[in-house]
């Protein structure tokens, strides 16, 4: 009962701002609405007892990525004071495609058997996550590290050229 209520509240907190993100005529407001949406997703992670992912979600998405998006939008010309339309003349086609995709996804999700694992969760899964990153998933971990490093160096190169 409590869990269901929490899920419904969190779903509303996640989805309502998400609608604002794609409809608002003010770019800063659209970017700002990402934050409650991210926090709602954090709540969903907590509900699934994935506390570590929830913490990272706050720190990276709400605390860093949203800030960077806001930062960039506020620095651009079209960022403040101008009203933008977020949709073009293809609304009908776009809506049809989105609707078809929703139906396909819903059908897929409803047909998939979701296995439930019995047993209790460990009190803290941080060490397990870290261990998995450095053993079974080392390749994915290192590749994403490399991608981030390359983008960092690329950003530095672009920033230096202007001087």
């Amino acid at each position: 009962m409590g869990e269901l209520a929490a899920f419904i509240i969190l779903a509303i907190v996640t989805l309502l701002p998400a609608v604002v993100v794609v409809t608002s005529r003010n770019l800063v407001r659209a970017a700002m609405s990402l934050i409650p949406s991210f926090l709602g997703v954090t709540g969903l992670f907590v509900l699934l007892q994935a506390e570590f992912v929830a913490g990272i979600q706050i720190l990276i998405y709400a605390g860093a990525i949203a800030v960077l998006i806001l930062f960039v939008i506020m620095l651009t010309q079209g960022g403040t004071g101008t009203a933008l339309r977020q949709v073009n003349e293809q609304q009908l086609v776009g809506g049809l495609v989105a609707g078809a995709l929703t139906i396909a996804l819903l059908g897929l999700l409803l047909r998939t058997p979701w296995p439930l694992v019995a047993g209790t969760l460990p009190r803290s899964n941080v060490a397990a996550v870290g261990g998995a990153f450095l053993t079974n998933f080392i390749l994915a971990f290192e590749i994403s590290s490399l991608v981030l490093l390359v983008s960092l160096v690329g950003a530095l190169v672009i920033a230096r050229r202007e001087q």
Binding site: G55, I58, L59, A62, G63, L70
Partner: protein, 338 residues
């Protein structure tokens, strides 16, 4: 009805923490700030309201409560009004993982969560959004510049802050604040096992422990926008920065958030490196407050002693000094622990 009870408990705990922050953090903090700054500058500081000016902040709060709440005509009203609330709520949430000490047979903490420190840093990073939005929505160049400075500063200093926190986490093997304090129990006079001195069986960790303490305190000072890292508010260049346009209680809420965050950083420093509530002779809660106020005194002392850094010096210190040092500290700690 278990969840109903939990919600009632959460509301009561929020009220208790908010009252504590308003009284100890904002009111006492502002009073201490003014008294100590007066002492450093050979003045008396507030003197007239109450004994030794103790009621000065209460008088100021009552004054702020009576002030009109002005929203600039070109401001984005909703964002403008929500931003100070976000700052306060984030600072308030950061406090729920701070353990005050043992009392009534349990540790006095709102919630001992297993990702406590991650949660704290996440909440500290949410304050940037409040400052950035407050600065943008004011539609004022000074406020916007303050918000931008704050965003670039806090994003840069979050990284050394998180890296410095990694050192005690690795020593204790847990992210729970209560767990970290418990791991620092005992030793010589109840001081010997503090993480600033390394681990009892591994005194080589003294060096990374102490350096992590220094990095954490520096990054924490920058994270709460205090001198010498107060570029976002820089009164002399930006007329107050992001809260230039705020009046009355909304201005006070930003101040409350700032002081609550500064006190939270002081409390967390004592939890991570100075043994939390452990210490000789005195009860735990007394030790917690002694350490917290000693660190708050240190922050105030620094504020009234050092000049402000330039923006390039500020960013260089983080990216060329603290971030590499933080990575080395994590590496050395890991190497010494294995």
């Amino acid at each position: 009805m278990n969840w109903f009870l939990e919600i009632v408990k959460a509301v009561l705990a929020a009220l208790a923490v908010f009252t504590f922050l308003a009284v100890v953090g904002a009111m006492l903090g502002v009073y201490l700030e003014r008294k100590i700054s007066g002492w450093i500058q050979s003045r008396l500081g507030p003197k007239h309201v109450g004994p030794q000016g103790l009621l000065q902040t209460i008088a100021d709060t009552v004054k702020l409560l009576q002030k009109e709440n002005i929203v600039p005509s070109n401001a984005d009203a909703i964002t403008f009004n929500v931003a100070p609330l976000m700052a306060v709520v984030a600072a308030l949430l950061a406090w729920i993982i701070i353990p005050f000490g043992p009392a009534f047979g349990r540790v006095l903490v709102v919630r001992d969560i297993n990702i406590g420190l991650l949660f704290f840093i996440g909440m500290a990073s949410l304050i940037v959004i409040a400052i950035l939005l407050g600065g943008w929505s004011s539609n004022n160049k000074y406020a916007l510049l303050g918000g931008f400075r704050s965003a670039s500063q806090m994003i840069s200093y979050e990284i050394p802050l998180a890296l410095a926190v990694m050192v005690p986490i690795m020593m204790a093997g847990t992210m729970s604040t209560v767990g970290i304090v418990e791991a620092q129990r005992g030793g010589w006079l109840g001081i010997g096992n503090w993480y600033i001195f390394g681990l009892p069986g591994n005194r080589g960790l003294l060096v990374p422990g102490f350096l992590a303490f220094v990095v954490f305190l520096t990054a924490a000072t920058a994270e709460v926008n205090r001198v010498p890292f107060d570029l976002p508010e820089a009164d002399s260049e930006l007329v107050g920065g992001y809260f230039t346009e705020y009046t009355g209680m909304r201005f006070a809420l930003f101040q409350l958030g700032e002081y609550a965050e500064a006190f939270a950083m002081a409390a967390l420093t004592s939890v991570l490196f100075l043994g939390g509530w452990h210490g000789p002779w005195l009860p735990g809660i007394v030790w917690f407050f002694i350490k917290m106020f000693a660190l708050v005194f240190f922050l105030i002392w620094v504020r009234w002693t050092y000049p402000r850094l330039r923006l390039d010096q500020l960013l260089n210190l983080s990216w060329k000094g603290l971030v590499p040092l933080g990575f080395v500290l994590v590496l050395v700690t890991g190497w010494l622990l294995v």
